[in-house]
């Protein structure tokens, strides 16, 4: 079957974009069975792309100096030619916004639309982590609210105080995440409404007389039992920002709201960090399928298809570990390879595959299997279940164990052979497990009767302690928010204290 070409040459215009989108949508719907948010495609310039880079890809964000720093950094790199810009940015929102760079050729725009507007879009809408932790409908409105709220706080309480609070919150951002479901799902619209109502309530009931009412003798609670105290404060608590927002004794209401905003945004990005391989793998697989089909239908010329293949192979290139270009596994390469491997297992399995993947080998319906995987796995579980021996052999994976105490050197623990498949796979999956990537830090106790010291513990894994200088700085921020002393102990699995740190508040951010 040959159909009319979507475009000729490299030029594109908005009608062509529309035709490209419709052609992709047809394939995505009938052949791949994708379920997507409505698409919104926006064409932007290189400068706007740099802007987007510095605010985590989001179209609007509150103002903070650190974004300016990132912008300056990226700009310097870009101008020197050290860094190319992404072809697109896609935002997990409904409608799903994809930014396309204006200087892309028509082929690249097709690739990018297939990749972002269908691949990523489907993943955002269907993956369980995104369903659980993000609110695609509400995110843009919430960011708008956050931006305005920060501006209002700056007007009311001064730019410096807001900046200090945000600095501190940013330092703790990666510890402002609920890692386990069970809490009610996020409804960002309600969040926004709640904050607005609270503020107007405060405004309408403000009465300066309350300030003059003498405080009675403080009700001193009879010394709480440890267990009761822990219950009361929800300890131990690994979401440090949540804990501070709810219990820090001297924070102003607006400071708590700022912590809440930073926490919500961190939570919004949480699934993305856990699904890099899957997300990119899905998008790359989808664009590969769509582009190939468009070419088969004759809607893309041979020349343009070669152009596509060239950038596609660049994207999925995986350098070896001893290559100077190596910087870890390329999520595009690994993800795409695994998706293709699953396609092979489903359609054309070997005996080995039947043994390793009895559930999917030879079932025949590639898209049903893939859609199920895309919906129900994250990187760690995906790799630990679906990385096949054949792919391990193909990528020639091996596992190194580096023990500083071992004088002789680094041991090769497992390689891509019969004895090593499972161990290599387990270790690789572990590399993508957030539980291992992020240091495990939690609030364990508060000395309510004494000096109100906040006690935080880092459960060290495999003897790795926190970077001293950074830990000190973060702890300082933590102390500023808590407004009393904070101590951090690093404990290994056996309960041996490896190191401890302490910080006292500087008493600016929390000034009443």
């Amino acid at each position: 079957m040959t159909a009319e070409r979507l475009f000729e040459g490299a030029d594109w215009d908005f009608q062509k974009l529309q035709r490209i989108h419709d052609a992709c949508a047809e394939i995505a719907r009938t052949e791949l069975g994708l379920d997507i948010y409505p698409n919104q495609i926006e064409v932007i310039t290189a400068e706007q792309m740099l802007d987007a880079y510095s605010s985590a890809g989001m179209p609007l964000f509150y103002k903070h100096w650190s974004f300016g720093k990132h912008f300056a950094h990226h700009e310097a790199f870009y101008r020197k030619g050290l860094m190319g810009l992404a072809y697109e940015i896609v935002i997990n929102s409904s409608p799903c916004i994809s930014y396309l760079m204006e200087e892309n050729t028509a082929t690249m725009q097709t690739l990018v639309i297939a990749h972002a507007a269908f691949g990523h879009n489907h993943f955002f809408k269907n993956n369980y982590l995104f369903k659980q932790w993000t609110d695609a409908e509400g995110i843009l409105d919430y960011l708008d609210f956050a931006k305005n709220y920060v501006v209002q706080c700056e007007e009311r309480h001064g730019r410096l105080a807001v900046e200090q609070t945000l600095d501190a919150a940013h330092a703790l951002m990666s510890h402002g995440i609920d890692r386990y479901p069970g809490k009610k799902t996020l409804d960002l619209r309600a969040e926004e409404k709640r904050a607005g109502e609270r503020r107007s309530h405060e405004d309408s009931t403000f009465n300066d007389l309350w300030r003059t009412v003498p405080a009675g003798p403080v009700k001193s609670a009879a010394s709480l039992s440890t267990e009761r105290r822990h219950n009361l404060l929800g300890l131990p608590q690994e979401n440090l920002l949540y804990f501070l927002e709810k219990t820090a004794p001297r924070l102003q209401p607006w400071q708590r709201e700022l912590l809440r905003i930073v926490r919500h945004i961190a939570q919004y990005f949480y699934p993305q960090s856990q699904t890099k391989v899957m997300n990119e793998g899905t998008a790359t697989y989808v664009h590969y399928r769509i582009m190939t089909r468009l070419h088969e239908q004759g809607r893309i010329s041979d020349g343009n298809f070669l152009e596509f293949l060239q950038s596609h192979t660049n994207v999925v290139f995986q350098p070896d570990f001893d290559d100077p270009r190596f910087s870890g596994f390329n999520p595009y390469a690994l993800g795409f390879a695994m998706m293709q491997d699953i396609e092979r297992i489903v359609t054309d399995p070997e005996d080995e595959d039947r043994e390793w993947f009895p559930d999917i080998a030879g079932t025949g319906d590639v898209m049903a299997v893939l859609r199920d995987i895309w919906a129900n796995y994250r990187d760690e579980s995906f790799i630990s279940q679906f990385l096949s021996p054949r792919l391990m052999r193909h990528l020639r994976m091996f596992h190194l164990h580096d023990d500083p105490a071992e004088r002789a050197g680094i041991r090769v623990d497992a390689i891509h052979d019969e004895r090593g498949y499972r161990r290599v796979r387990r270790e690789l999956a572990r590399q993508y497990d957030v539980g291992y990537i992020d240091p495990n830090i939690e609030v364990v106790d508060v000395d309510l009767e004494g000096d109100r010291r906040l006690m935080v513990r880092h459960a060290a894994v495999k003897g790795a302690v926190l970077n001293e200088a950074d830990a000190k700085r973060v702890l300082q921020h933590l102390a500023d928010l808590w407004s009393y002393d904070v101590s951090l102990v690093e404990v290994d699995a056996a309960g041996v204290v490896l190191k401890d740190h302490a910080a006292s508040p500087r008493g600016i951010a929390a000034a009443a």
């Binding site: 330092a171 680094i410 240091p439 302690v465 830990a471």
Partner: protein, 423 residues
């Protein structure tokens, strides 16, 4: 599906963030700007460009783990089998590259625009504020919009404001709308006898009300109001006086040029319009263009009074002191014939200094000679005497390129309040 063209959206969305970043890193960036300007030509100083600042204080700390035993899975195994021990030297290479990245993190490099650069460069400098400047500021007045008033000239009627007030009044007083009357009249045309008188009365009532409440009442009328405000004199003229007699070497001229350029840049930041007048002199003075000023050959004796006389003439004919801020910078090697001293001091104290905001004398010396070793020249001695008598002169000696900026900085350094009061 929507396709939106965002390319025309206003750019520099990050500008505000960038400014916050610069403000926060101000001290660091300023240090870097000063440092990078030292090894630049003055012409390039103002071109902006890349600076690098230490990242300390600008970092965004996170809890990071380090050390301990590490496990990693890598692709591209070529010859390893399980149980091999790899010497750590191979690992050293990777470590080294890691450290390199760390360094580039420590020194944070980015590009400043020209304006940002100059702002930071001149940030802690200010014009010497003199009594005369305030006087000059009051000389001219400008008009400025200042809200609305109920009286004024018909030319200043604000139609939109008037109509708005009239509308508000008509609504408030419930002036019947012509459409309502028209409707009633239409109804009147085809209605039964019983209703007719009632309708007629209603129409009559509405018409009367319509007449009572005018469409536009004199109390609605508003006029645009203007206020006169004193307008600061927004123009300056800068006189460059230079001795070009044979004793001035190329090096000395270069020093003078650098100083003039800094002064020019500084003035252009403060005044909307800056003119430059170049006066060179030997034993007679002439006004020349820039190129001749710095490069034109000339020789002869030295009579400083000729240059001052020329400047005085130009001021009198072209730059009314009431309208212009007058700055003068004189560069010389200090030679002057002793017989000229009286004329110089008379011209300066009586004619030049009273109309000038600022008069700087820069004595340039040969490179290598320390400024402290330079014997006081005849001109230096003379000016010092004038200063002792209370003349508003600034004078410095310079013999090295690198001293130009410090001297300039010193002359215009922002004084503290009490110092100012003391001066």
């Amino acid at each position: 599906m929507h396709i939106i063209d965002r390319r025309l959206n206003p750019g520099s969305k990050s500008l505000e963030n960038r400014q916050r970043f610069l403000r926060r890193a101000k001290a660091l960036v300023q240090g870097a700007v000063k440092k990078s300007s030292q090894d630049r030509d003055i012409k390039d100083v103002l071109e902006g460009g890349e600076v690098s600042i230490p990242l300390d204080g600008m970092n965004e700390p996170r809890f990071r783990r380090e050390g301990g035993t590490r496990d990693m899975v890598l692709p591209g195994n070529k010859k390893f089998v399980e149980g091999d021990m790899l010497p750590r030297s191979g690992e050293g290479r990777r470590k080294a590259s890691g450290a390199g990245e760390g360094d580039s993190e420590d020194a944070f490099r980015f590009v400043l625009s020209r304006d940002e650069f100059v702002d930071l460069f001149l940030d802690d400098l200010e014009l010497p504020d003199l009594a005369k400047r305030k006087l000059a500021e009051a000389e001219s007045e400008g008009l400025q919009r200042a809200g609305y008033s109920t009286s004024g000239s018909p030319a200043n009627i604000s139609v939109s404001r008037t109509v708005r007030l009239a509308l508000a009044r008509r609504v408030a007083l419930r002036r019947p709308r012509p459409e309502t009357i028209a409707e009633l009249e239409a109804e009147l045309a085809d209605c039964d006898e019983a209703r007719r008188p009632e309708l007629l009365a209603e129409i009559e009532r509405l018409k009367a009300k319509l007449r009572r409440i005018p469409f536009i009442d004199p109390i609605d009328i508003r006029y645009r109001r203007f206020e006169t405000v004193p307008k600061p004199v927004a123009q300056a003229v800068m006189f460059c006086l230079m001795d070009v007699s044979g004793s001035m070497s190329e090096h000395m001229k270069d020093l003078a040029k650098r100083f003039y350029m800094l002064l020019y840049v500084f003035l252009t930041r403060r005044y909307r319009h800056v003119e430059i007048v170049f006066i060179r002199h030997t034993d007679r003075a002439e006004e020349v263009d820039e190129d001749t000023f710095f490069h034109g050959p000339a020789s002869g004796g030295t009579l400083v009074s000729s240059a001052l006389e020329a400047m005085h003439e130009i001021v009198r004919s072209r730059f009314r002191p009431a309208d212009w801020n007058i700055y003068a910078a004189q560069a010389s090697d200090g030679d002057n014939s002793t017989s000229d001293s009286d004329a110089v001091s008379r011209l300066l104290t009586e004619k030049i200094l009273p109309v000038s905001q600022f008069f700087a004398y820069l004595e340039v010396g040969e490179t290598g000679g320390s400024t402290f070793d330079m014997p006081d020249s005849s001109l230096w001695t003379l000016y010092q005497r004038l200063r002792a008598e209370g003349a508003g002169l600034s004078m410095r000696k310079v013999s090295e390129r690198s001293e130009i900026f410090p001297v300039f900085h010193d002359l215009f350094h922002r004084r503290r309040k009490q110092e100012k009061a003391a001066v």
